[in-house]
């Protein structure tokens, strides 16, 4: 990872607002870690799924020329969970990808909390709007 190599970690807005206990910089750092761990966990799940998938299907032909649409196993959250529980490689990959999609949503949810701690009502409202759009996208389109 890159921290501390190019510039000291305390650079940035922290120096500009040293008096604020819950400044933007603190929020950004925590959000940054949240994103990084979220991505790392999902990449690990995807990688595990990839190993199972390649072990079983490595020598089959790959063909993505014609669009068929994924079966419901890979289109809905219950379907993905069931496929992963049965130890299917592609089910695990899809589970990792779902986790990945959840990461920015968690980030926005966390930002709501961060701005609330800062007592920044305007930005609590803004982030809540973004969060509702994200949740609507997931629920409204039938993934859940």
């Amino acid at each position: 990872m890159t921290e501390g190599k190019i510039s000291p970690p305390q650079r940035g807005s922290a120096q500009a607002n040293p008096s604020k206990p819950w400044g933007d910089y603190q929020i950004e750092v925590i959000v940054g870690y949240l994103l990084r761990y979220g991505v790392m966990i999902s990449a690990t799940i995807v990688f595990c799924g990839a190993c199972i998938y390649l072990f079983r299907h490595a020598h089959e032909p790959a063909d993505y020329r014609i669009f068929r649409g994924e079966p419901s196993d890979f289109r809905t959250i219950p379907g993905v969970l069931q496929s992963a529980r049965h130890g299917h490689g592609r089910g695990w990959i899809q589970l990792g990808l779902l986790f990945l999609v959840a990461t920015p949503i968690a980030r926005v949810a966390f930002a709501v909390v961060g701005f609330a701690l800062e007592r920044d009502r305007m930005y609590v409202t803004f982030t809540l709007i973004v969060l509702s759009v994200l949740l609507y996208s997931l629920i409204g389109s039938g993934t859940f």
Partner: protein, 278 residues
Amino acid sequence: MTILTFTVAVAIVSFVAGLLGSLTGLGGGVVLVPLLTIFFHVDIRYAIGASLVSVIATSSGAAAAYVKEGFSNIRLGMFLEIATTVGALLGAYLATWIPTTAIATVFGIMLLYSAYISRRVRPPELRSLPPDPLATRLRLNGNFPDLDGERSYNVQRVPAGFSLMFGAGALSGLLGIGSGAVKVLAMDQAMRIPFKVSTTTSNFMIGVTAAASAGVYLSRGYVDPGLAMPVMLGVLAGSLTGSRILVKAETKSLRLVFSLVILVLGLQMLYKGLWGRI
């Protein structure tokens, strides 16, 4: 091609795309979809689904590194995400009933436009602009560590930037890309934000924008695990490598490399879209 060779080849290409996407603030998607459709003969809908997922990985993976540098402006990002997420939702719904040739054509135009924008001579960054009343009220102004110490900036023309961001979101949802080019344009040109701040804030926003259309794509069966896996892992590794060299790299040479690749791919996509070879 067997699944093994296909996976390895796609992973390598995705690594390069992720590297380039991260260095230019574009996300890997913009070069990935044309590469997958042109060289790997993947149906554009699968390519878009895989790209969209990788865009989230690029953005989230690199954002963690950028945050440490203090470049990205979280308030600005959050405010503009209102526009990009609503746009992305709209774009994703559009994508499910527009013919693929039309998507390819729009993609081609988008790539050519990105190439043009990147080569346009940029006036030197205007410093010490007066504070804009709306930007001040929204608390969008900020500061970042420049080569010669901490530098503050005042955000300009908020309504114009916000509208452009809605368009960027719609393109992101329609094409499964991060629309970094439009985002950087909105922040660079319209809102007069310093290049490094706009690039990193854009990269930061891309994941949230992509997540807004991801639900639609997943439920419509556009995300194939066998394809999305090498794309996502490759792009992620590439973008993490790219974020390590951002601070040292020259803006000028980055833009040249980026625009040449985009130009060639844009022409190819346009050809495919207009002649129905998709």
